[in-house]
């Protein structure tokens, strides 16, 4: 009986040889859609947009499937497409700045998610600190340039290695480190100004 693992291995083997066959595409979507959606959600912070961009990502992957030669993993290749889509989306969004200015903030969603994440037996102060810390990171990440935000999300939300991030973003590992350094510094600065415990502790 064919398991999901052997099927995935077969897809990888076939893609290395001759691109992705159309028949394998449904299995590929099934295998990667959750993680691609997660990457995109971390970048755009809007579930509907993340869903649309996830669909766009797989459509573009289908169009380009014959060009995939297996130099990187399928997931890394998909992340590369997703990042480019999110970047294009961010460019388009800038045009609607004034419209968005009057829309309600989406931070309620962040707070609700943090309720679920927070340890149920932790103290109220710990829960508050965890929620505020994560919300501050989200806010800091939202203000990063698209490339830095992508690198930051891939590292701290997806826990990808620096080499995987370099492959997905098509930049050198040293440049990935540079982006991470600036992003972490921005997060530290924001934590220092917004989180009570950090005040007066910025280096």
């Amino acid at each position: 009986m064919e398991t999901a693992l052997t099927k995935a291995a077969a897809i990888v083997a076939s893609t290395r040889a001759e691109g992705i066959a159309a028949g394998d595409f449904d299995a590929l979507v099934r295998q990667h859609q959750r993680r691609i959606y997660r990457v995109l959600l971390a970048m755009v912070r809007n579930p509907d947009t993340a869903d649309t961009l996830t669909q766009d990502c797989f459509l573009r992957a289908y169009e380009k499937r014959s060009s995939f030669r297996g130099e990187s993993s399928v997931f890394t290749w998909l992340v590369r497409i997703a990042i480019n889509l999110a970047r294009d989306h961010a460019k388009n969004r800038r045009a609607g700045f004034w419209r968005r200015l009057f829309l309600p903030s989406q931070d309620e969603g962040v707070a609700a998610a943090m309720d679920a994440v927070a340890d149920p037996v932790a103290s109220a102060e710990q829960i508050y600190a965890a929620r505020q810390g994560a919300a501050t990171v989200w806010a800091a990440a939202a203000e990063l340039p698209a490339q830095q935000r992508a690198v930051f999300a891939l590292r701290f939300a997806e826990e990808m290695t620096l080499e995987e991030i370099a492959d997905a973003t098509e930049i050198e590992v040293g440049t990935v480190k540079g982006h991470l350094h600036r992003a972490v510094n921005a997060v530290r600065n924001r934590l220092a100004t917004e989180t009570p415990r950090h005040r007066g502790r910025q280096k």
């Binding site: 449904d26 979507v29 099934r30 859609q33 959750r34 959606y37 997660r38 959600l41 971390a42 579930p47 993340a50 869903d51 996830t54 669909q55 797989f58 459509l59 289908y62 969603g109 962040v110 998610a113 943090m114 679920a116 994440v117 600190a129 965890a130 929620r131 810390g133 994560a134 501050t136 990171v137 989200w138 990440a141 999300a153 701290f156 939300a157 826990e159 620096l162 480190k177 991470l180 350094h181 972490v184 510094n185 997060v187 530290r188 934590l191 989180t195 415990r197 950090h198 502790r201 280096k203």
Partner: protein, 157 residues
């Protein structure tokens, strides 16, 4: 900046577990250890929140796959129609070009038939075309002779 503590670069390296010196400092410095704990907690909260926010029921993923398949089918259908329409238009254009540009083919002529037609034409003429000047000269001479005879005939005298 306080040089007793970690630099900005060292903080990033420490968070990536890449700087042994920074790790040593954090292990010895309560203040930096506390900050690292807060930073790591905030970053871990961010990562967990990102994963938590992306949780969707199985029906959502099935719906998304259907949406992708539907959009793929919609993309392919017009493309196929376009290919067929383009092919048909090309065939029609080529046919029209061939019909317009082809020179009219002369009808095949049987050499025996052509010779027969020539003979018939020659026979229909009173004299062969090449002897026409001689015919004119002979007619002129005949008319001159008749005129002479008419002038010298006895009846006239």
């Amino acid at each position: 900046m306080n040089e007793e503590h970690l630099s900005e670069e060292q903080w990033t390296a420490a968070l990536l577990n890449e700087d042994r010196e920074a790790r040593t400092h954090i292990a010895e410095c309560a203040e930096c250890a506390a900050e690292e704990q807060r930073l790591r907690a905030a970053l871990a909260g961010y990562g967990e929140e990102a994963r938590e926010a992306a949780q969707r029921p199985a029906a959502f993923w099935a719906w998304q796959r259907d949406a992708i398949a539907g959009r793929l089918a919609a993309q392919r259908t017009p493309a196929r129609r376009l290919v067929w329409a383009g092919t048909l238009a090309l065939v029609i254009l080529l046919a029209a070009a061939v019909v317009r540009q082809a020179p009219p083919q002369p009808a095949a002529v049987d050499p025996d038939e052509a010779l027969l037609v020539d003979v018939q034409r020659s026979l229909r003429r009173e004299v062969p075309a090449t002897l026409a000047p001689a015919t004119l000269l002979a007619n002129e001479m005949n008319r001159a002779a008749e005129a002479y005879e008419n002038r010298n005939s006895p009846q006239r005298r």
